[in-house]
């Protein structure tokens, strides 16, 4: 009797397990590797997606910026296909393109999943290119649009009767007046908060000064038009552009501003966010992701009366942002496309801005009345910023070029390399060596 009971129990267990397996076998599970900036919004959308498509499970895996890129590249190199979808930083587009699926091919292969209301034309063209394309290959759908903006204290400016600066020379004058050391009547301790640490931050910050010079009429005449894949660091014929008077002038402007900023070489994103949030500084070039924490800051309350935002002085802020792509080695390309299409449609582009301040990539969001009511600057500041942004290189060698450049720029700003042109020339030679030219 005892043995019969045991056998019966085992039989029931096996049947149950088989049943569960069969039920699970009908479900497709896909994962989405995400940077922290995007993870909250994507997790939110994943819940909604799974309610709409109960046979598809989506797991969002947040990873820090430093770990995300190596994981993606290692997965591509090994063809493990461990990650079905991922957010990729715009300047890693070239390196990631080798492992990302061609979305146009997926759309042709599975026309039934293509959303008729998706409207690719609604994407801001720059966003579509830098977060979506590599050459002729559509490697992603734009998710997080970003450029840097110029935030300032409206109340401090009003107090001193200052105009909102539109050029870096104007910023210099305002910064001096807003720094207590130079003007005892200044309402702020420092005029501006800058972040020039020895990280990728310095690489993109430099473009806020070099970009306007590169894209000036004389810059275009000298260097040619900007290629969106090679970016503003290069000339039209893909040679370094920064080893020039313009490149040196950008560094001079940065140096001149440093005296009005608290510890720029030792500050990064967190420090500048804090300094502005506590009312220590009057101006700060920053990303939109800061807005969420500033809105909760007592020193900036009421936010709409104290904080103004305008296009970066010079008019060509550096671009950032992320695309959503599909791993070429995933066995679930159809479901993966359904997911990334869902996460980047019109509704979610608006939602991730309103709820998470993840920058939009579509005209419809930037012109939406509900959005403009709270963020009126989206139409007149955000769109032009993204359309006229300056770009880092997106080529596969970008990470190496970036690190070499950051080391050099940091040494120059520390004052250890006084001959800027000569140092920039040496850097350009190093870049050419890396590019094997």
């Amino acid at each position: 009797m005892g043995a019969k009971k045991i056998l019966a129990a085992m039989g029931v267990t096996v049947i149950l397990l088989l049943g569960v397996s069969m039920a699970v076998a009908g479900t497709v599970k896909i994962n989405c590797l995400s940077s922290p900036d995007n993870a909250d919004a994507l997790t939110d959308f994943a819940q909604e997606f799974m309610k709409k498509y109960p046979d598809i499970q989506v797991e969002v895996i947040p990873l820090s910026w430093e770990v995300l890129y190596p994981r993606i590249l290692a997965d591509f190199a090994s063809h493990a296909g461990a990650y079905d979808t991922m957010t990729w930083d715009l300047m890693t587009g070239g390196a990631c393109s080798q492992g990302l699926a061609d979305l146009e091919k997926i759309r042709k292969q599975y026309p039934e999943v293509v959303d008729p209301d998706y409207d690719i034309e609604d994407f801001i063209p720059t966003a579509w290119h830098v977060y979506g394309m590599w050459g002729e290959k559509n490697i992603g759908l734009p998710f997080y649009g970003a450029t840097m903006f110029f935030f300032y204290r409206k109340d401090y400016f009003q107090q001193l009767g200052l105009q909102v600066p539109t050029t870096w020379d104007e910023v210099l004058k305002a910064a001096r007046l807003l720094t207590k050391e130079y003007n005892p009547d200044s309402p702020s301790k420092y005029g501006i908060s800058l972040m020039f640490p020895r990280t990728h931050t310095l690489f993109y910050m430099y473009l806020n000064w070099f970009g306007p010079l590169r894209r000036s009429p004389s810059g275009i005449a000298k260097f040619g038009k900007v290629d969106l894949d090679w970016g503003d660091y290069f000339t039209q014929d893909k040679k370094p552009a920064f080893n020039s008077l313009e490149g040196a002038r950008a560094l001079e402007l940065m140096e001149e501003l440093m005296r009005y900023s608290p510890d720029p070489l030792g500050s990064d994103y967190g420090e500048t966010l804090e300094y502005f949030g506590k009312g220590l500084v009057a101006m700060v070039p920053q990303w939109t992701a800061c807005i969420a924490s500033w809105k909760g800051s007592p020193a900036l309350s009421p936010y709409s009366e104290k904080v103004g935002v305008t296009i970066m002085p010079g008019g060509h802020p550096v671009s950032g942002g992320w695309g959503l792509g599909i791993n070429n080695d995933t066995p679930h390309k159809k479901e993966a496309y359904m997911w990334i299409q869902f996460a980047t449609n019109k509704r979610h582009d608006k939602l991730h801005w309103l709820k998470y301040n993840v920058g939009p990539t579509r005209y419809s969001t930037c012109q939406d009345p509900e959005v403009l009511k709270e963020y009126p600057w989206l139409k007149d500041v955000y769109i032009p910023s993204l359309e006229q942004a300056s770009h880092r290189p997106r080529i596969p060698e970008e990470p190496k070029l970036e690190d070499v450049a950051v080391g050099t720029l940091s040494e120059i700003l520390m004052g250890r390399k006084p001959d800027k042109l000569k140092t920039l020339d040496e850097l350009a030679s190093e870049w050419m060596r890396i590019l094997k030219k």
Partner: protein, 295 residues
């Protein structure tokens, strides 16, 4: 015969899974690292490895950042380690017999128990220019704010300070335990002969602690040669290349920006070889084998 063979084969097959695990997780990656160090292989560029002989090794000596990393690593060895040794010995000698010795001893060990990553975050906050406690307390002495993370020299000092804070307890622990194990009769006999406390310490305790001091020195040198996490969390190797250690540079080259696996492997092997050579030299110079009873 069959029984004898089986008797020999069974233990072998029982440990075989572990051997295979060890080979695959330890020996294979190590062997592959040696192999790839002679190749040009970049994950970001795709393609397969290309044999280039010793080019990666030669490139290291033409690479200014690699050379700067070696210099900073050696600076750490020559400053942090002696400070830790000196402080560790001094604290171990000083706290004996004072009131609250046990409590002080336990609290002195706390820095060592904190993960380096966590300690790094804390030090970064301590070094904050505007709000950091370091500048706050220095202001009591009339010292103006220091850019701990933005100044070439102070960034290096900052890393040294953080390392000394975290690992002096390690030296202290080893030497304190060593002092406890020295027979009391030796000190008592010396006192009877009229030796002062200083003479007892100088001529009896410190010489007996010699082997332990040697072991602590070697362990700390190996650790400092590999330092990575405190740099990663506090300064990111900056400003410029002020605080690039060799380990940190290997990470940058191989994982963070370069994806140049071959070059990273070559630098790793050079570092490994240096550590092995240095420790062998130190063990011989300090005659540790003899003093620890291995000869």
């Amino acid at each position: 015969m069959y029984t004898r063979l089986t008797a020999k084969a069974v233990p072998f097959f029982m440990v075989l899974p572990l051997i295979l695990l060890f080979l695959s997780l330890a020996m294979f990656p190590f062997g592959y690292m040696i192999y790839i160090s002679f190749h040009d292989y970049n994950l970001a560029e795709g393609g397969s490895p290309t044999f280039i002989g010793v080019q990666n090794y030669l490139a290291m000596f033409r690479d200014n950042v690699a050379l700067s990393s070696i210099r900073f690593t050696l600076l750490l060895v020559c400053t942090a380690v002696p400070i830790e040794l000196g402080l560790g010995i001094a604290i171990a000698l000083f706290i004996r017999g004072i009131t609250g010795e046990k409590v002080i001893r336990s609290s002195l060990l706390l820095p060592m128990m904190i993960p380096s990553v966590v300690a790094g975050i804390a030090w970064k906050m301590l070094y904050n220019y505007e709000y950091g406690p370091m500048n706050y307390f220095l202001s009591f002495f009339g010292i103006p704010r220091i850019s701990w993370l933005g100044n070439y020299t102070f960034a290096q000092i900052g890393i040294i300070l953080a390392d000394v804070w975290q690992w002096t307890p390690f030296i202290f622990l080893i030497l304190y335990a060593g002092l406890q194990s020295i027979p009391r009769e030796l000190a008592e006999a010396a006192k009877v002969d009229g030796a002062s406390e200083f003479e007892i310490t100088r001529f009896i305790e410190l010489p007996l602690l010699g082997p332990l001091i040697g072991v602590s020195l070697i362990i700390r040198i190996i650790d400092v040669l590999k330092v990575f996490d405190i740099i990663y969390m506090v300064t990111w190797g900056g400003p410029g290349s002020a605080t690039h250690s060799l380990s940190y540079y290997i990470y940058k080259v191989g994982v963070s920006f370069g994806w140049d696996i071959g070059y990273a492997a070559a630098i790793s092997l050079v570092l490994l070889g240096s550590i092995v050579a240095l420790t062998t030299f130190l063990i011989r110079m300090l005659r540790l084998k003899k003093s620890l009873g291995f000869e």
